[in-house]
């Protein structure tokens, strides 16, 4: 709160947001049936897990760079 976060820091931390986009859009990472987890093919497991990882990364960006520093 007290300290003023520089625009530079925000810009760099915001770049983390690109990670979930790449993980979701680069299909060669995940277009396979095996390995299965709990009977669920990898193709589905990867995308299901990345929903939460994406949210987690967005949360980290929020906490590190934005929370409380802006109305």
């Amino acid at each position: 709160m007290g300290e003023k976060r520089s625009r530079g820091l925000r810009k760099w931390v915001n770049l983390l947001l690109v990670i979930p986009c790449i993980a979701a859009l680069w299909t060669p990472f995940y277009n396979s049936v095996e390995p299965r987890y709990f009977g669920i093919p990898f193709f589905y497991m990867w995308q299901l897990v990345w929903i939460w990882l994406g949210a987690g990364i967005t949360w980290v960006v929020y906490v590190v760079a934005w929370r409380g520093g802006d109305e």
Partner: protein, 529 residues
């Protein structure tokens, strides 16, 4: 109740699925939640004769309300029936809505707080307001507004298609013939009620209803993912029911980027286009602060996870083999694959729970329906009526025009599904998505690149719209993916994305050429950091 459910059109058999318990529970919940919509005008009380209040709730919704509102707004009834139906018909390739949802919220986090700020500081209600403010060009703003209205109309109509599938699943079927077309009474009634509460309470109505709807939807989905796989013998058995060549994206052929590229561009185009849609932007602009938008970008993925589970209902319907069961033959004949989810719910759950689930989906049609008509009305009023017809109208008059236009939009959507075949509504929605993406340079690039020239943006928009329409036309408006031939390499790409590339190219190139002629920057609105 009996009278309601079994008044049938001439010549139709009684639907095998009609069950008084389901219908009773459904109607009770449905009416209860609808009545919330009428009381909504008293909530966070504001002067409803003001467009900012009627159309954006005074920009006073905190993070939690926005979360519910956007969830109700983006995950619509048509989504609930059509996306699982896509999985049901085409397998893993239909799962692209999930990477699309993964990519869209980081984008919202990075870009939309800034959009909100400019709009709130300058009193903008629509994307076209923003564009007119940034570029001082009424024609460009008009084109943005028209694109929004035209793309929203078929989307609104599709909510009715979703609603029809629910009524069909319940066996609630009562119609009369008008000019040779079936007019469904339950649909007409539900729509009239929606028109009433929208007119009366504006965006407060869908916001408050979204909370109640979500409770029902989450209950339904949790029940689905626990009960149905258990009945089918586990998730493994469910995926085994999917044909082996459909479980993931098909392999890449020689000299082609293949279906995987198409999958990625569908996800990317969806993510880029989503918040350009007037109803989605309206939801965001009703937030009370930039912080509310950022927090939503963090927590919206909960809906994305729900969506992913929902898509799997398509596979559950495959595993349950609902299409081969005689009692659902009528439904599949009438609605096609979008009947898969209603049939699955009927098959798997006791009658009372079917009523709960269908009430959730039906309300899920009315919430986005209300927001879409409000958003289209905002566009018409601000960027057509006030810009070109009555520039000096009072705030009260402006709001009245918006309220009336919201009724006109809904009547139009209802007429559309009644008098045109459903396939043409789906085709229009497809082309609408391609068109909507073409507003991206003016709306989103404009806030970062001040040197873009309005004439260049207009030319880019025309190029993108033309290219997108031609590509869609080449597939007879049946497929959103068009295969480009780039030096012998086949590139199957979502037409919205390839048209957008052309659009951005033209915009940047012409802006560079026209840069010396850019008018004074002193006119641009306050863009505070």
């Amino acid at each position: 109740m009996g009278r309601l459910c079994c008044r049938l059109a001439r010549g139709r058999r009684v639907s095998a699925t009609a069950n008084p318990v389901s219908i009773g529970i459904f109607l009770t919940l449905f009416l209860l939640i609808l009545s919330l919509g009428f009381f909504a005008s008293r909530w966070k009380k504001g002067n409803l004769h003001h467009l900012d209040e009627w159309g954006l709730g005074g920009r006073r919704f905190g993070p939690l309300i926005v979360w519910f509102l956007l969830g109700g707004d983006l995950y619509t009834a048509y989504t609930f029936v059509a996306l699982p139906a896509l999985m049901y018909a085409s397998g893993g390739a239909g799962f692209f809505a999930v990477p699309y949802s993964i990519a869209v919220f980081p984008l919202v986090f990075a870009v939309f707080p800034k959009v909100w700020k400019i709009c709130a500081d300058n009193g903008y209600v629509t994307a076209a307001d923003l564009v007119e403010g940034l570029f001082r060009n009424r024609v460009l703003a008009l084109m943005i507004a028209l694109t929004g209205i035209v793309a929203t109309m078929p989307y609104l109509s599709l909510q009715l298609v979703g609603l029809e599938a629910v009524f069909g699943g319940l066996g609630l079927h009562a119609s009369t013939t008008l000019f040779g077309h079936d007019v469904e009474f339950p649909l007409l009634l539900a729509f009239a009620v929606m028109a009433g509460f929208t007119y009366n309470s504006g965006i407060r109505a869908p916001a408050i209803m979204a909370i109640a709807k979500d409770i029902l939807i989450y209950t339904t989905l949790i029940a689905c993912i626990v009960v149905i796989p258990a009945k089918l013998g586990g998730y493994g058995a469910m995926f085994d029911a999917v044909p082996a060549d459909k479980i993931i994206i098909p392999p890449t052929p020689e000299n082609s980027l293949g279906p995987q590229f198409a999958y990625a561009t569908l996800a990317l185009g969806g993510a880029l286009g989503l918040f350009l849609y007037p109803h989605a932007l309206t939801g965001l602009l009703s937030a009370s602060s930039r912080d509310a938008i950022r927090r939503n970008a963090v927590f919206m993925p909960i809906y994305a996870f729900m969506l992913a589970l929902l898509l799997l209902l398509g596979f559950m319907a495959l595993a349950a083999g609902v299409k081969d069961l005689p009692e659902y033959g009528d439904g599949f004949a009438r609605f096609g694959d979008i009947y898969a989810v209603p049939a699955l719910l009927n098959q798997m759950f006791p009658a009372w729970f079917v009523g709960v689930a269908f009430a959730a989906i039906a309300i899920g049609a009315l919430i986005p329906g209300a927001i879409m008509s409000i958003a289209a009305a905002n566009l018409f009023t601000r960027n057509i009526y006030r810009s070109f017809i009555r520039p000096d109208c009072s705030a009260e008059h402006e709001t009245l025009v918006a309220k009336i236009f919201s009724l006109v939009v809904k009547a139009g959507a209802l007429g559309f599904v009644t008098f045109f075949p459903e396939t043409s509504v789906v085709q229009l929605q497809l082309i609408g998505g391609i068109w909507m993406c073409q507003t991206l340079p003016a709306v989103l690039m404009g806030i970062y690149l001040k040197w873009l020239h309005p004439i260049a943006l207009l030319a880019g928009w025309i190029a993108g719209m033309t290219a997108g329409t031609l590509m869609a036309n080449a597939t007879d408006f049946k497929a959103s993916v068009y295969t480009l031939d780039i030096f012998g390499l086949e590139v199957p790409c979502y037409s919205a994305v390839s048209a957008l590339v052309i659009n951005i190219g033209v915009t940047l190139l012409l802006s560079a050429v026209l840069r010396p002629f850019r008018s004074s920057v002193a006119l641009t609105p306050s863009v505070a950091e």
